[in-house]
Symmetry: C4
Subunit: 103 residues, 4 copies
């Protein structure tokens, strides 16, 4: 099952790949739509606003390439939340089992 493998991903790997994705997307959107996103910080601000699904609407892509990057970020953002929830549930189960076995 794919779920088993996803839950087994170490936390540090999840942390560093998230940072890599955010930095990469921030850099890519500035290249793709430099007319809308002037600086790397503009890109970073937009990526974080998108991944957390806040979406103020002060910055958003208008080209097809930029929109595809946003769509990719939506899926990544929701996927990450799923993985984190999975890890919380799994961690709680392990912790409860230990509490039952002894203390």
């Amino acid at each position: 099952q794919v779920l088993k493998k996803v839950i087994k991903i170490p936390n540090y790997l999840l942390f560093f790949s998230s940072i890599f994705l955010v930095v990469g997307a921030s850099w890519l959107i500035v290249i793709l739509e430099e007319e809308t996103f002037h600086t790397f910080f503009d890109g970073f601000w937009w990526v974080m606003t998108t991944v957390t699904t806040v979406g103020y609407g002060d910055l958003y892509p208008v080209t097809i390439a930029g929109r595809w990057l946003a769509l990719f970020l939506y899926v990544i953002g929701i996927g990450l939340i799923g993985v984190v929830i999975g890890k919380i549930i799994d961690g709680l189960a392990i912790y409860r089992k230990k509490r039952q076995e002894g203390d």
Copy 2:
């Protein structure tokens, strides 16, 4: 219980019905509000922005028919997230049971 039946839905069916819904809604919104949504890709961009609850506000329906389609998408989007969480919890329980029984 309805929950039992929902969790039993195979993953491939969930995947294809999601794609069908997104494509169908993208096509429908262009028909319903062609003054706001010029192309199928505009519709698709709006549907994905809505279902993931990002909601930039660059595109939104203004007619009653278009708004009802959006309201339907809200419920679908939240329902799908509920089903996915249910599947994660169920999958984790089965995986833990197998780990306990042997390995």
Copy 3:
């Protein structure tokens, strides 16, 4: 524990109180800010957009009274999602127990 009581709330009660809240808030916002929200459907559209946290930003309250209503809707929306997740987890646990005991 308050959690126990919340999970015990029957589904039909949850359903009807949600509808009551949405209709009540839609009607109240039109009264509070008739300059922004012209019709009941405008109010309903805004309430649903807020409770689902999509938040397009086409309509939002500008008065203090209207903003307090929105703040109340935020808390209700997130609370409802918590209750639904609680019900899914509880329902899955009961279903698994039944599956273990016989089938």
Copy 4:
């Protein structure tokens, strides 16, 4: 495990630190960007709209300092939702265990 310690946080501490964070951030954004956020209530309205990820886009920071505060709020908001889900799952497990042991 860090999860164990987070779940052990008493509810009243979680409640008061949330209020402290919201009030502190509301006050800080007015100081950082007084041209956008005129009153404390404006700041409070923006903080709540951000933490709940509604994000209407009527108010958003434009300076680097204000944006960093927003980024901090995103992480806090999502972290809090994770803790609340963890507490619901843990509370349900304790409640089920008690129900099994006697009633």
